[in-house]
Symmetry: C2
Subunit: 380 residues, 2 copies
């Protein structure tokens, strides 16, 4: 057995973005040996890892060759070459999350079918092959049409009010998902290690930027009843257990105006809805992911202080080498913790960083978050 | 003016050990461009910086050449080539802490004289040239003899009970310092930026390993009266202001059984007595050092939760490639945060890592710290 903490045990991450970067910042506390594969020479992870490999994580040979000298392979982005991960798994490498889990999650159709099969509440849906199928679809409008693969952060998603708005529709295999009369959106992050230990983070509440369809604010804890919290946690734990997944799973849910909880989608890795855990919770989601994939004891997830996370998105109208305005203003705010991802170029709504604000009360954190939001800009 | 947060502004650190490593872990949140100079190819900083240069930080040319393309040079170890830093400062580089401050601090004689000159309480002392001076020295025994330069972590320090124990004495320029009847040892870390903003961390209490003469435990906050706290803080702030220093200054003090506070020594950089601030305080000492040297607003230093820091020293009797025992036990303890420094080789009492334990009460943190201490070992 190779010693994990002496750098003999070699770990690889597919993807070198901000999630990988924050994972690496923590990984250094455990003296882990980590290699990173990313297509961009300027990836945020480039200066924090033991070895950086520039290459395409969607290409079989690139992923296979990257993984074959490693002991464990993980991801920070799920749209990777699963065939290569399956080959590596067959050869005895540890691959977490498991390729079988990625197969379910990568395809929005199989993800929805998984929920249906395991009686996990999700909004009604139908699978369609192309645009022509929409008119005959047995579903109440309005719907969201979601491409089966490659959709994230609002890409590959289209809102269809009724059957007269089909000209906007994608002409490709997709899921039609009944729109939910939304009270709020929640996320519960769960972790599971190979021993089967499971722990969840207290649910958080997400507020979206309607134009970018990306998380603008995150509130921890979520403003929900104890019953809703209990139900949300139970759903998240059920999914990770039914999938027998090893690693971190972020479960995004809709809370409808009627009080129903419906799973929207899941991500098998550290997630935007867990950034606040770095300063706000006893164990961060990044440390928890490492604990889970390395089969170490799962950490305590208790909230230390309420927190608000503000996503720092590239300003509209700017493209090019990133310039950060208002950092000093943010540094004057007690309890505000700034995280710049180090992406070389900005573009409208690109995730360039985040700020977590911790405070004795959520109200105070929210007030400070407003100040952060108005002070901090990424331009070019 | 170069943009600090866009990686245009280039920073260098002399020294690539654990203090530099923890500084870099935080620096990545600010997207800073940092180069590191260290004599060891295996230095803990090697995989976290933008550029790693292997070289001797005590050599004029090495330091000068390292610094000449940078905008700002700082240190994580004060025993560096000051002449080179002075040359760089003359050429317009920012050097923080300033070379003039390093001159005072590097020499234990000028450090003591500085305290005397500015009426900062410190134990009585005399300066001597060699062993023969000791018999005539106008000082009450017992004393600590400290070599003027190159002493740290108990190296270069000798305890002399009386004038009959002179055979143990160093035959070199040194300070004879009257021994203090010790109640406890305290540390106050202060930060000052170029605008002159000053902030202090709440005092911590250090418990030493008598054999290694190194910090074994750190308690935050210190168990002292509000009056003693006020006095300790005032002393630390006075020193940083009198030195007009920019950066972080750790002020180690003796609290005598009579209740006197006496400055022992200072370190112009992040310090072992501030490790707990990563998890225990609103701003960590590492972030504070960055804020200070970059002339950014000085951060809030409030204690979030009481904490205990346990130094992880190499076990006696082991030398060679480090192996960490008991990590899993520590990971089961709520609130315990492990930091392995990633040093390749262990040796007796070498600082190999630390664990900070935060808890709602210091008593609880102390109980958990005992468990950590007995579980975690570095062997070879």
């Amino acid at each position: 057995m190779k010693n994990i903490f002496s750098g003999e045990f070699k770990i690889g991450i597919l993807g070198g973005g901000q999630l990988g970067k924050m994972l690496l910042q923590k990984a250094h506390d455990f003296n882990l040996h980590i290699a990173v594969l990313d297509p961009s020479a300027n990836a945020p992870c480039r200066n924090l890892c033991n070895r950086f490999v520039q290459g395409d994580f969607k290409d079989f040979n690139t992923v296979y060759n990257f993984g074959k000298d490693l002991d464990l392979i993980t991801i920070e982005f799920e749209d990777v070459n699963v065939e290569a991960l399956e080959a590596l798994e067959r050869e005895g490498k540890q691959v977490y999350p498991q390729p079988a889990v990625l197969r379910i999650i990568q395809n929005k159709g199989s993800q929805k079918s998984f929920y249906q099969q395991h009686k996990i509440p999700t909004s009604p849906f139908v699978l369609i092959k192309n645009r022509d199928d929409i008119a005959q679809a047995d579903i109440d409008f309005p719907v969201f049409q979601k491409l089966l693969t490659s959709g994230y952060d609002g890409y590959g998603v289209q809102f269809l009010e009724n059957k007269n708005t089909l000209q906007k529709a994608f002409d490709a295999p997709s899921v039609l998902e009944q729109s939910v009369d939304l009270e709020k959106e929640l996320s519960v992050i769960v972790a599971r290690n190979a021993k089967g230990e499971v722990a969840h983070f207290p649910p958080v509440e997400m507020e979206f930027n309607p134009e970018a369809n990306m998380v603008a604010y995150l509130f921890s804890p979520a403003g929900i009843s104890p019953e809703t919290e209990k139900k949300a946690v139970s759903i998240a734990r059920t999914i990770v257990e039914k999938m027998k997944m090893v690693g971190l799973l972020a479960v995004e849910m809709f809370l409808s105006k009627k009080g129903e909880l419906l799973v929207n989608e899941v991500a098998p890795r550290p997630h935007n809805s867990g950034h606040q855990s770095i300063e706000g919770n006893s164990t961060s989601q990044y440390e928890q992911h490492l604990r889970a994939i390395l089969n170490l004891p799962i950490g305590n997830t208790a909230i230390i202080q309420p927190s608000v996370m503000v996503n720092l998105l590239g300003e509209k109208g700017y493209r090019g080498k990133a310039i950060y305005e208002g950092v000093e203003e943010v540094l004057k705010i007690d309890g505000a913790h700034i995280h710049l991802y180090g992406k070389y170029e900005t573009r409208p709504f690109r995730k360039m960083g985040h700020v977590s604000i911790v405070a004795p009360s959520l109200e105070e954190a929210k007030m400070k978050a407003k100040k952060v939001k108005s002070a901090l800009k990424v331009i070019a």
